[in-house]
Structures are given as structure tokens and as C-alpha cells.
């Protein structure tokens, strides 16, 4: 004979589950129990963490073509800021935010660059961290994603294929544009076009928001143009602006026109590189890791975000 069990009806829990939660990236409503946004596939953990902190996190768009070094730069940035004893430094929020750092540091320390980021938005690394710096009394909550360069290229060709990208571009408070200094110096500007398209898209979305009166002011967002792999190009760390004027005039011009508050930086992670056979195909690998100019662009951007 079945026995009866007493189960308390915790209606407030049901009510909590029924209340929707807004995705931090695309700002669409989702079920509270969802692990990923049903529209943009961004992790809902970001929204849950944002709810738990007083300050609303600021979204940073990190743009760049495939192979420009986004994963290495962002992973190294997080590792440096976490290891830092003084200021600036960051505190990662949630285990999700440590994955990018873990992947990058593990690969670099064993003599490899991190693997190319997958197209699938579910495999992108997202970071939510608290950034402490000297120039701001209060720490800043920031969120950014390591998006695949190929996904950026696809999104500029086919609108709406990656809603997360559109969400990042529409809602970001600051922009980091990464460009491969080695390619620029060699005169290879093919990859510039992806970045130029993304900057155009950023401007269009801003105009749309102005038209819909969701925003009242013109473009005030800061933009950091970061020349990566600067170790291979003399002068791109010492005087990145001059390097950009000489080798990336179009990209620099576009940044100047659209973003009055911009700054050019140079950075490098590897001191020297070589190729290593992996299952018969040569892979580009670092010979030693000597990070330079990694924190400066991010620090400037967060300070300028206001």
C-alpha cells in the first residue's frame, strides 16, 4: 500500500522560475533555468552573475579577423591580470570566466599557441571579471567574449547568423580592435576588410539606436586599436601610432572617423616563433613567451569607458 508523503509547496520557488531573466548579451528574455540564451547561445551564467552584483557589467567588444591573435591576447591578458600582485588586476567571476585563461596558459607554457576558436557560439569563451585599477576608486565589472574570427566574417556577410555578435556590437561600452602587425607590415590587407565591415556595422547599430531614441548621444565609446605580434615588427611597440600610419592607414582612418576617442597600442606575446610538425602538418608555435603591452590597451579602455 503506497504511503503518502508530505511535500512542502514552495510556491516562491516556482514563481522565481517563472520570472524571465534577460540575456546580458542580446538582452532577450530567457527562462531562468536555461543554461544558454535561446537566441544568441551566450551562457546565462553571465546574466545570473550580473544579477548578484550591484554594478551592471560593461560589455567590451573584441574584434579582429581570423588569426589576428584574439584568443592569445585575451587569455594572456586574463592570466597577467590574475597573477598581478599590485594594480591593475582582475578577479574572475565564476568558473566559466577562467576557461579562456586556462586554455591559453596551458597551451603557451607547453610550447603551443591555443587552438583556433570554433565557429559554434557554444564553444566561445566568455569572461566576466572585476577590474581594479589605480585611476578608478571603484572596481569595474566587465564582460567580453573570445569570438571566432571566421564567425565575424560570416556575420558581416550574412546578417543575423550569429545574434551574439550583433548583441555584442549593439551593447558594448568599449571596443578593442586587434590587427596583425606582421601581416600589415608585409602589405597583406585582406584581413583589414573584415575589421572595416565590423566597424561599419558598429556605426550602423549605433545610428539605429539613435533613431529609436534608445540612445541620446553620438559616439562616445572608446576604441583601442591593438597591433598584435609586434615582436616581429620593429617600432610597432615603441611607436604604434606611427606604425599604423605607415602600414594600416585605412584601418586607422576608419577608427579615427567613427570613434573620436581612440588610441593605438602595440603588443606581443611570443618572443620568437617557429613551426612544429603535428600529425604531418606544420603548426605555428612560440619558442618563448615574453608578453609586452598586453595590459595597457585594456586598462586605457576601461578607464575611458567612464
Amino acid at each position: 500500500m503506497p504511503s503518502l508523503a508530505q511535500i512542502p509547496l514552495e510556491s516562491y520557488l516556482l514563481a522565481q522560475q517563472a520570472a524571465p531573466i534577460e540575456c546580458l548579451v542580446c538582452q532577450q528574455e530567457n527562462c531562468r533555468s536555461a543554461t544558454r540564451c535561446r537566441f544568441c547561445r551566450a551562457p546565462m551564467a553571465l546574466a545570473h552573475q550580473a544579477e548578484s552584483v550591484k554594478q551592471k557589467p560593461r560589455l567590451i567588444a573584441v574584434l579582429g579577423a581570423s588569426g589576428s591573435g584574439k584568443t592569445t591576447y585575451l587569455g594572456m591578458l586574463m592570466d597577467i591580470l590574475t597573477r598581478q600582485v599590485g594594480l591593475p588586476r582582475t578577479t574572475a567571476r565564476g568558473p566559466l570566466s577562467i576557461s579562456l585563461q586556462q586554455t591559453t596558459a596551458t597551451a603557451l607554457s607547453t610550447g603551443w599557441f591555443p587552438e583556433k576558436t570554433d565557429h559554434d557560439p557554444e564553444h566561445w569563451h566568455w569572461v566576466h571579471c572585476q577590474f581594479h585599477c589605480r585611476r578608478r576608486r571603484q572596481p569595474v565589472e566587465v564582460v567580453f567574449a573570445d569570438v571566432a574570427g571566421d564567425a565575424f566574417a560570416e556575420e558581416t556577410e550574412h546578417d543575423g547568423r550569429y545574434p551574439a555578435i550583433r548583441g555584442i556590437l549593439a551593447n558594448c561600452a568599449g571596443v578593442i580592435v586587434l590587427a596583425d602587425a606582421e601581416r600589415l607590415k608585409a602589405g597583406d590587407h585582406e584581413h583589414d576588410f573584415v575589421t572595416l565591415k565590423l566597424l561599419t556595422l558598429l556605426g550602423d547599430l549605433r545610428d539605429e539606436q539613435l533613431r529609436n531614441r534608445r540612445l541620446r548621444t553620438s559616439e562616445r565609446r572608446p576604441l583601442a586599436l591593438v597591433l598584435t605580434k609586434a615582436d616581429k615588427c620593429d617600432g610597432s611597440i615603441e611607436d604604434p601610432r606611427e606604425f599604423a600610419e605607415a602600414h594600416a592607414a585605412t584601418l586607422l582612418g576608419s577608427c579615427q572617423t567613427r570613434f573620436p576617442r581612440y588610441q593605438v597600442f602595440g603588443c606581443s606575446v611570443a618572443g620568437a616563433t617557429a613551426y612544429r610538425d603535428l600529425y604531418g602538418s606544420p603548426q605555428h608555435v612560440p619558442l618563448r613567451i615574453e608578453p609586452h603591452g598586453i595590459v595597457e590597451p585594456f586598462g586605457w579602455l576601461v578607464t575611458e569607458m567612464g
Binding site: G271, R276, D277
Partner: protein, 437 residues
């Protein structure tokens, strides 16, 4: 006559234009007397002109014979020994009159000069030391002992196997084939206790090392004009006007290519250490049985300690003096093998790199990590990186090695030698010195 001499300052250095003006005025007075038939002017002009010509002749006769090139510009050196004075200059200095002033004038002075500039290794070469007396050799050996540490002969593991040998507990057994490939034997040598400093490298620059082609590898000659500092003076990349920044004299010299390091080594009478020699000095391998070897991961032991080396985690933002981090010395007393600056090795990178790695054949091996090396496992005694030999990086310096075999010959010959007269010593030593480089 004495008053006239005094008035005209004859006997003292008189500038040419004063002499010419006086002669010209005297000639003009004499000519005016002739023109106007004025006997007074004629007489005065003739007397002054005659006196001037006579005294000028006397002055020329009194002056000692000197080479024309140095007669007026350089003050003659006081040389007590007339034999030394008469001796011809070594051929390499004849073409460099700026160095003649610094030419040592006795065996003592020569030895002092060589020791002061850190070129004691040249004094200990057999072709040089057979001309020196025992005291000089003892002084040179003392300098050698202070500046260099002995690395005993033996076998050392390089490449991918070396890291396994250090991380395994106790000792490491490997297959015979692999051992044959990566096990190297080195002979006894001396290795610099500290990396070469800015101050030491300045001696090379000051001695005209960048202008003397005999120090340089043939393939580096086309690039020699590019080896300049921030102000286009010959010297390391980050120097200004041929000089390092103030306060950097004890810091390791950086911004030098592999060729500049090699040229300095030739000038100092040493050479760059090979990968095996460098690793042997740091990892201090112990071979308990043939093929069974244990090597240290860091010069001080197995685990990393940020207090013993200047890496990224030390937050020093640049190279520090070579005698900092004394706790990081190796068993043999070699300092800063790990951290501060990478060190050029004499070996090509491919010689001991993993077989799967593809790098240009010209790449040279660099070892030890630097102040901006991020990961500790990239700054072990076994980790190897590489760089193009023409690269002049902000974090690559070097230290030098001196094979013991060179000195053994010297010692044997010294034991057979006996006292030689000083003048002969000096003459032979200078010639040998010139020939030895």
C-alpha cells in the same frame, strides 16, 4: 738675443700664423724701404727679417726629430727605456693612431692593460705566456679564477630527454639510441661567473672592436654598419652616443647580435659556450652509472624559487646587475644562468632541438630565460629557445667560455720556461699579442 727670443716666444710652441705674420711684416718694411729709398726702413726691415730667419733656423735645429703625423698634435710620451722607444709598433696598432697613446710600454704595463680590460685569457695562451714571467702569469690566473668558474668534463643530456632526466626522481634511464643522440660529452672548461656587462663591453667598443674586421665572422661583415646604437655610433642597440645609460655598468649588455657577442669573445680571447657546456654548468649532471643520469632543473635544485632569479614574476621590468640574486648560483659558482637575460650559445638551435621543430638553419640557440620570461618552465637549465644571429634583442646577452685545454698547454710550457729579460719579454709579448688575435 735672449730677449728677442723671449719676445718672439721662440722655443715655445708658436702658432704658424704668428710666424708668418711677423715674417710678412718684416718683408713688407724691407720692401717699403727699397721702394721709397728710405735707409731707416730698409735697415729695420733687413735686421728683423735676418733675425727672424736665423732664429727660425735655430728653432728647427733644436727640435727633436718626430714623425710628422704626431709632431704638433700629440704630446710625446715619456719612455724611460730607449730600447722600448725604438721598437716598432705591432702591425695591428699602426693603422690605428688613436690607440698609440694607449700602447703599453713595458711587460708590466701590458699585463696591467690586458687585465684591466678583462683580456686575461689572452695572457694565458701558450703563444703569449711563454714570453711572460711567472708573476704575470700568476696574476692572470688569479683574474681567471675570480671571473670564471670551472666546469668539469663529463656527459650531459640535452633536448627533450634532459627535462625527463630532471623531473624523474633520482636518475633517468633512457634507450641507448636516444642516449646516443642527445648525450653529449664535454671537456673541462672555464665559464664566466657572470654575464658580460656593459662596462666590459665598453672596453671592446672603446678599443675599436667594431672597426677591426679580424674579430668578425665573414658573413657578418655586410651587416657591420648596422650594428649601431640609438645615435648611429658603433655599439649595442640601446646605447646612446657609444655609451650605456648611467648606472647600467654592472648590468648585462643587451641589444647585441650573435656576431657582436662572437667578436667580443675573440677580442677577449674566449668563445661562446656550446649548448652542452652551458647546460653542464647549470644542470650539474651526476651519472651514477653509464646512461643513468640525474640533472638539476634549475641551478639551485629541482623547484623554482622566484627569490633566486629575475623572471617576469619578479616584476623588475628590466635586467638587474649581474651580481644580484646570489642565491641562484650553480653548484660550480656560476651566477644568473637562469633569468635576467637570455644568453647566446655558440651552437645552432637545430643541433639539439626536438626533431619535430622546424626553424631556419641559421638560428642560434639562446638559453636561461630573461627578466620578461613569463613561464618558469621556459627558464630551466634545459629549456632552449632560438633567435636569428643578426637579431639585437632587448633581453639577450651572453657569457663566455674558455676551454681548459688551452691553459693546460700554457701550464706545461710555463713549467719549462725560465726568467727572461724584461725588454725581450715586452717585445715578444707585444708581437705575440698582435699575432695571437
Amino acid at each position: 738675443m735672449a730677449r728677442i727670443r723671449e719676445f718672439l716666444r721662440i722655443g715655445e710652441p708658436v702658432s704658424t700664423w704668428v710666424r708668418r705674420t711677423t715674417g710678412g711684416v718684416a718683408l713688407a718694411v724691407f720692401a717699403a724701404g727699397l721702394w721709397w729709398h728710405n735707409s731707416s726702413l730698409l735697415g729695420v726691415g733687413a735686421v728683423v727679417l735676418a733675425a727672424f730667419l736665423f732664429l727660425g733656423w735655430r728653432e728647427t735645429a733644436d727640435r727633436p726629430a718626430e714623425p710628422r703625423a704626431h709632431s704638433t698634435e700629440r704630446r710625446p710620451r715619456s719612455r724611460p727605456d730607449s730600447e722600448t722607444e725604438a721598437r716598432p709598433l705591432p702591425p695591428r696598432w699602426v693603422g690605428h693612431p688613436e690607440l698609440v697613446d694607449e700602447l703599453p710600454d713595458s711587460a708590466d704595463a701590458l699585463v696591467d692593460e690586458m687585465l684591466k680590460t678583462g683580456r686575461y685569457a689572452l695572457l694565458l695562451r701558450p703563444e703569449m705566456n711563454r714570453h711572460l714571467d711567472r708573476e704575470h702569469i700568476i696574476r692572470a690566473v688569479r683574474h681567471l679564477d675570480e671571473a670564471m668558474a670551472l666546469v668539469p668534463a663529463g656527459r650531459v643530456l640535452l633536448g627533450p630527454l634532459a627535462e625527463q632526466a630532471s623531473s624523474s626522481s633520482g636518475a633517468f634511464d633512457a634507450e641507448q639510441k636516444l642516449l646516443e643522440r642527445f648525450m653529449h660529452r664535454i671537456e673541462t672548461l672555464y665559464l664566466d661567473r657572470y654575464p658580460v656587462t656593459n662596462l666590459e663591453f665598453r672596453q671592446f667598443v672603446h678599443a675599436g672592436g667594431y672597426e677591426k674586421l679580424e674579430y668578425w665572422d665573414e658573413e657578418a661583415l655586410p651587416a657591420l654598419l648596422d650594428f649601431v646604437d640609438q645615435t648611429d655610433q658603433p655599439g649595442p642597440r640601446y646605447w646612446v652616443e657609444g655609451l650605456y645609460h648611467g648606472g647600467d655598468e654592472r648590468r648585462p649588455v643587451v641589444g647585441v647580435s650573435w656576431y657582436e657577442a662572437s667578436a667580443y669573445a675573440r677580442w677577449a680571447g674566449k668563445r661562446l659556450p656550446t649548448d652542452a657546456e652551458w647546460t653542464k654548468a647549470g644542470a650539474w649532471p651526476v651519472e651514477s652509472a653509464p646512461g643513468r643520469i640525474a640533472q638539476r632543473r634549475y641551478p639551485w635544485g629541482e623547484s623554482f624559487d622566484i627569490r633566486r632569479a629575475n623572471l617576469w614574476g619578479s616584476h623588475r621590468d628590466g635586467p638587474v646587475d649581474v651580481d644580484e640574486y646570489p642565491d641562484g648560483e650553480s653548484v660550480g659558482g656560476v651566477h644568473q644562468l637562469v633569468g635576467n637575460v637570455w644568453e647566446w650559445s655558440g651552437s645552432p638551435l637545430l643541433a639539439s632541438a626536438e626533431p619535430t621543430l622546424h626553424v631556419p638553419e641559421t638560428y642560434k640557440s639562446v638559453r636561461g630565460g630573461a627578466f620578461d620570461t613569463y613561464f618558469e618552465n621556459h627558464a630551466t637549465c634545459h629549456y632552449q629557445s632560438g633567435e636569428h644571429p643578426l637579431a639585437r634583442r632587448h633581453n639577450i646577452g651572453f657569457r663566455l667560455a674558455l676551454p681548459m685545454a688551452t691553459l693546460e698547454v700554457a701550464e706545461e710550457e710555463d713549467a719549462q720556461g725560465d726568467g727572461v729579460e724584461e725588454s725581450t719579454v715586452t717585445a715578444n709579448a707585444e708581437e705575440a699579442f698582435a699575432a695571437s688575435i
